[in-house]
């Protein structure tokens, strides 16, 4: 770790101008966790500062402190040279700080205009809210970011990408000097990401200070001026982005060298385990047919919102398909619930770990044994010793880090939570494992572990389906790739066809047009 003195010299090198906003020795403790330990950070007008760090490094915690959602345990926020603290989100907004948070934090039942202006709505006579004015202003902001959304619609009628645009509009509706973006591109499509970049440029020219958080390095190198690195809640270093390269940044983040190379594997697929034929749903997907062999990793690529998760969840028995057939080991099976799917050896590691993947308030061992309780019990009666034994065998295999097996899953970091979910499914000895965005929001170190593990599973003869929106990941891990667009399979590529260009073309629907044109 860098010393304090080094930090200050580096900071001096960053810029001559004074920061609009700075964090000074901020510490934040949660019961049992020290999320931040005396970190500092400076933001300058007209510049983008990238905040990078592994999962759980404390990036979002900093955002929450800056926006008044959390109060620091120690330390101060310095605005215009004055030490202060924000006791509510309102106080932060009043100080000119606005944020696009990592989660979309909006209200489905309220109108778009209200979502944008809740908390700072324009007032009319008698201090009552002025609806027409609010709608008018909302429309202006939405137009500005190029979003075609009717401000009087209810938010719940919007798609996920439009919701993110509303979140962005909300952030812009506050006349801010500091704009914070916590992984803003995670849910956006390629086109929208480009528009976001333009917006950032525009904000820069308006002299606003921008804090940009992302796990995507290409993005960081493209738009950031400065960087700040956190590791395990501690400040590690900062500097100008132009003076650093990819490897150096990664090294600062994880504290060691990481070869960002996907594990090499020799695919030796066995016989066919899974066949899907003509799967369809009234509104979400249609004509899904493919097959999967033992020991194979099948990638599913598509833009966010292509309907991959919906199809996988339908295959897993969550939503009812309108038609289609599934065969396991050559025999047709009917799957009406996840319990049926598990019974037939199909398991699903969902995208949303906290809600769908784990029962987070329950202990680790109970989460792991939940789907395989039949094996650790006699006639329906639980046997604790066997339960612990089963849990232990898988947590050891996955190198889980936890205080004990009876601590609740919610106390674990994201990566370790993902390990619990995977362990839970491996314990059922499945034939097919579906991993939906298995490394989404997971830091580089844990990511490599997950990849390595997937490779091993395939080598052991498990059939793996991996849904991913990250091109390097799909390309690096898959034996074969299916591309989906608007609920349909548009291509299946393997071998030398597996290039970023083909994937993007198919996913965006350019391929066919190009051929026709």
């Amino acid at each position: 770790m860098l010393m304090k003195s080094e930090k200050s010299t580096e900071a001096a090198a960053v810029t001559a101008s004074t920061p609009i906003l700075a964090l000074d020795g901020i510490t934040k403790t949660f019961p049992g966790v020290k999320a931040l330990s005396e970190v500092s950070l400076s933001l300058f007008p007209g510049q983008v500062t990238a905040l990078v760090g592994e999962n759980g490094a404390g990036k979002s915690t900093v955002v929450k402190i800056l926006t008044g959602i959390y109060q620091p345990t120690e330390g101060h926020i310095i605005v215009d040279g004055e030490a202060t603290r924000f006791s509510t989100a309102q106080a932060a907004a009043d100080a000119g700080i606005t944020a696009i948070h990592q989660e979309t934090v909006l209200f489905d039942e309220l109108s778009v205009a209200e979502n944008i202006f809740l908390g700072h709505a324009p007032r009319g006579r008698f201090g009552l809210m002025d609806w027409p004015e609010m709608v008018r202003k909302s429309r202006a902001i939405l137009d500005e970011i190029g979003a075609e959304i009717d401000p009087s619609h209810k938010l719940r009628d919007l798609g996920i990408a439009n919701k993110h645009l509303v979140a962005i509009a909300r952030a812009l509706s506050i006349d801010a000097r500091v704009v914070i973006m916590d992984e803003p591109t995670a849910a956006l499509s390629h086109k929208e990401i480009q528009e976001l970049y333009e917006l950032v440029e525009q904000l820069k020219t308006q002299g606003k200070a921008i804090l940009f958080i992302s796990h995507k390095f290409d993005e960081i190198f493209r738009i950031a001026d400065n960087y700040t690195v956190f590791r395990d809640g501690q400040f590690v270093g900062e500097g100008r982005i132009a003076e650093v390269d990819n490897d150096a940044l990664v090294k600062m983040m994880v504290g060691r060298e990481v070869d960002n190379i996907f594990p090499t594997r020799t695919a030796s697929p066995g016989e066919t385990v899974l066949e899907v034929d003509g799967y369809e749903h009234p509104t979400e997907f249609a004509d899904i047919s493919f097959s999967l062999k033992k020991g194979e990793i099948l990638g599913f690529y598509g833009l966010v919102g292509a309907g991959r998760s919906e199809f996988m969840q339908s295959l897993f028995g969550i939503t009812k398909p309108a038609g289609g057939m599934v065969k396991i080991d050559g025999t047709a099976v009917s799957i009406h619930s996840p319990a049926d799917a598990v019974g037939h050896g199909i398991v699903y590691v969902p995208e949303d770990r906290g809600k769908q993947g784990a029962i987070t308030p329950m202990p680790i061992f109970q989460n792991i044994t939940l789907p395989s309780l039949a094996r650790t019990s006699r006639k329906g009666f639980i046997r604790l010793a066997e339960e612990f034994q089963l849990a232990r065998s898988f947590t050891e295999r996955l190198d889980l880090r936890a205080a004990s097996l009876d601590t609740p899953v919610e106390s674990l970091s994201g990566g370790n939570q993902q390990k619990v979910v995977i362990a839970k499914w491996l314990a059922t000895q499945p034939k097919v494992i579906i991993l939906d965005e298995p490394t989404k929001g997971i830091d580089i170190g844990s990511k490599a572990a997950v990849h390595e593990f997937m490779t091993e599973l395939a080598a052991q003869g498990l059939a793996v389906i991996m849904v991913s929106s990250e091109i390097p990941e799909v390309l690096g891990m898959s034996d074969r790739i299916i591309v989906m667009r608007e609920g349909r399979i548009v291509a299946e590529v393997d071998g030398d066809d597996m290039t970023p260009e083909t994937l993007v073309r198919h996913a965006a629907g350019i391929a066919t047009e190009a051929m026709e044109g």
Binding site: A89, Q90, L110
Partner: protein, 327 residues
């Protein structure tokens, strides 16, 4: 604009009420005479007042089972006050009733906000406590009509523009709460807190404090209803409005207020209360055995919930182009 104010659900409910009235009219035309409708409305006014308060509380993902006990305690206190000091003028009584009700609501709200005790537990507890306090202060005795002063009893009955004051209070409350809910920051905060408490924090809304305000408003409404109730029925005793809390919740639910919070409207709660009021008033009139009353209102609640759930079912998103066009 109009479309947003009157959702389909409320139109359906209004239609149901009109149909119900038409049906009753075929058997007993006198029921739909304006005079009688006014008296049905007057009779429903206490339910409307309480349903408005309950709606706000439910919107914030809470529930208030203590409203009826609050009403009864406030009613008893003002009745005993009237007996002890018959000279105290009605406006003072009103202020006292509202204050008392507010304090009780505030107490619920504090327990929910500051100690984070689940709302149903808090109000289950305070419900029995408030009722018990009535017994303690009254020693179980009733305050009867002849003990109350005439002005005390006259207030809810006094007619203004052909309608009793009781009805006017309900109408006033509907208007005020409507403005509160649609045109003030606090009103929108109720929706925000119930719709997505997590996001509310990010929008600078203090969830606990908003819930606290919801309870306080519900308490104030229960307080004023407490005075109106005892003066209208000219009696106060421990058990008045016993079990009424569930009728109030039922009115909200029939009116389309989602028990999960975040969804509901003033017009909905009003119509829900009126619907129950019409049923309660009509059954004896059209000679339906009083023994059927309970089962009928139970059936109405179940049907209303089922219909509301259907209306609220999220359409899900449409990925397929074909389906999008069809939709």
């Amino acid at each position: 604009m109009l479309k947003r104010l009157v959702t389909a659900r409320e139109t359906i409910l209004l239609g149901a009420i009109v149909m119900l009235l038409a049906l009753i009219a075929t058997r007993f035309p006198g029921f739909v005479a304006p005079g009688n409708l006014a008296s049905v409305f007057n009779d429903t006014s206490p339910l409307i007042l309480l349903a408005l308060g309950q709606m706000i509380v439910i919107l914030t993902k809470c529930i208030d089972l203590s409203v009826a006990a609050n009403l009864a305690l406030t009613g008893m206190v003002v009745a005993m006050l009237n007996v002890a000091y018959p000279g105290v003028p009605v406006p003072v009584i009103l202020v006292i009733a509202v204050t008392l009700g507010t304090i009780m609501g505030l107490f619920n709200g504090l327990l929910v906000w500051k100690l984070e005790i689940p709302p149903i537990v808090v109000t289950l507890g305070t419900m029995t406590i408030y009722r018990g306090i009535i017994f303690l202060i009254s020693e179980g005795k009733w305050v009867n009509s002849h003990e109350m002063s005439d002005p005390f009893k006259a207030f809810p009955r006094a007619e203004v523009l052909g309608l009793p004051v009781l009805s006017w209070v309900a109408i006033l409350a509907v208007v005020v709460i409507y403005l509160l809910m649609t045109r003030t920051t606090l009103g929108r905060a109720f929706y925000a807190v119930g719709g997505n408490p997590h996001a509310a924090v990010y929008a600078g809304i203090n969830v606990g404090r908003t819930q606290f305000w919801a309870y306080t408003i519900a308490g104030a409404l229960a307080g004023i209803t407490g005075y109106l109730w005892v003066s209208r029925y000219a009696v106060a005793y421990v058990d008045i409005a016993g079990g009424f809390e569930l009728t109030v919740v039922a009115a909200c639910v029939i009116g389309g207020v989602s028990i999960a919070g975040g969804i509901g409207s003033v017009i909905g709660a009003l119509l829900g209360a009126v619907f129950l009021g019409v049923i309660n008033n009509a059954l004896p009139v059209i000679n339906v055995s009083p023994f059927w009353q309970l089962a009928i209102s139970g059936g109405a609640i179940i049907i209303a919930v089922a219909l509301n759930a259907r209306a609220n079912r999220t359409k899900g998103r449409v990925i397929l182009k074909r389906a999008e066009q069809a939709a």
